[in-house]
Amino acid sequence: MMFVLGVLGCFAAVSAFAIILETPRKYVLHDGIVGGIGGFVYLLSIQMGQDVVMASFLSALAIALMSHTFARIFKAPVTIFLIAGILPTVPGAGMYRIVYYLIANDSERSSYYLVQTLEVAGVIALAIFIMDSIFKVRIKKTES
């Protein structure tokens, strides 16, 4: 139940975020689908016992893959799907916890979450990089 709610929530939230970013009307729901898949992979990885960093990595990979696929299918720039879709993995919770434990005078946990948040940001970068590279290879092959 919680799982389904999480995926649907991501779908709705990312569609809404697409509106904030002024995404063209016809692609708003596509963005939502990308985000929903990202949320699904994230929650699934967490349920399978992965930690937050690994779950973020897998979900960012899925999101980047879907964005590139959609960009090929609908002949639109990748940015349109990627920017909104990546939102579920962005470490908002980590940023909150850093501050929370700072205020609570628990500097140990605060620095733990600081490292974790930086790791998540790095891992998102890695996932986007991997997918960008893979899709670049494919284009060059088909062109030659």
Binding site: G9, F17, L21, P24, T79, L87, I98, V99, I124, I128
Partner: protein
């Protein structure tokens, strides 16, 4: 005879629109290069950085033209990027005459969604992410309230033309305060979860994504600038939430700290 000046103006306008709308640096350079190359001039140079554009067009039959454009305000408008992309693609393919391409570029509007839809979207983002952070239906409903406060502050900030950093700071401050106040009224909601999901519209997801793509494509200046932007936004969000929690801790012992 090609109207070099008009081609240059078209390229600069296209580049400026894309840069203002948050396109990646390589995409802006690529588009401008394509447009300028339709003149088959000998020298076509475009250099784009996150804060401005420099372009040169030179051919033996003309005086070389160099244009500079400083870009002050940047936001995210994917629709503009799409439209500029489409117009430039059609112009380069020869489907669109130069004058018409230029006119169409000038007509690209800043916004396609109305203010109420934008505000509704902010509320939906706030509410929709609550389950991802472990919240249930109660938290989703509570996040609608904090999301509403966030939308209100964001709209007010836009009306008063508050700068980006302060705007983010004030917004996240309002979220933290309203979440803790809500907790006082309804003790069964988890204020941590609603704060986390309500700051999601503010987190620097766009900046992180663009920073990665720019850096990995070799646009180091733009990439570094965007990484700095991401850190600044993150710091503003953290500062706002922290100030809000500290302030509420004064009024309600234990305040934001469960």
């Amino acid at each position: 005879m090609i109207d070099y000046k008009l081609v240059m103006n078209t390229a600069i306008l296209a580049g400026e629109l894309m840069l203002c709308s948050g396109a990646e640096t390589y995409r802006v350079e690529d588009t401008m290069n394509h447009i300028l190359n339709t003149t088959h001039a000998q020298t076509v140079e475009v250099s784009v950085m996150m804060t401005g554009i420099v372009a040169t067009l030179g051919n033996p039959d003309m005086e070389p033209i160099t244009a500079t454009k400083r870009v002050q305000e940047r936001g995210t408008n994917l629709n503009s990027i799409m439209e500029v992309n489409e117009i430039s693609r059609r112009y380069c393919a020869g489907d669109l005459p130069l004058e018409e391409a230029y006119e169409r570029l000038q007509k690209i509007g800043p916004k396609q969604y109305r203010v109420w839809l934008f505000n509704l979207a902010v509320i939906m983002v706030s509410s929709g992410f609550a389950p991802l952070f472990g919240g249930g239906l109660i938290e989703m409903a509570a996040a609608i309230v904090t999301g509403g406060v966030l939308a209100l502050v964001m709209t007010a900030g836009k009306k008063l033309q508050i700068s980006g950093f302060i705007q983010t700071l004030l917004s996240s401050f309002a979220v933290a305060v309203s979440a803790i106040l809500l907790k006082q009224v309804l003790p069964m909601v988890d204020d941590n979860i609603i704060t986390m999901s309500s700051i999601m519209p503010l987190v620097p997801g766009v900046a992180i994504t663009n920073a990665v793509r720019d850096t990995l494509l070799g646009d180091y200046i733009s990439g570094a600038a965007r990484i700095l932007e991401a850190f600044l936004i993150a710091a503003a969000v953290a500062l706002g939430v922290g100030t809000g929690m500290a302030l509420m801790g004064v009024f309600f012992p234990g305040g934001g700290l469960a």
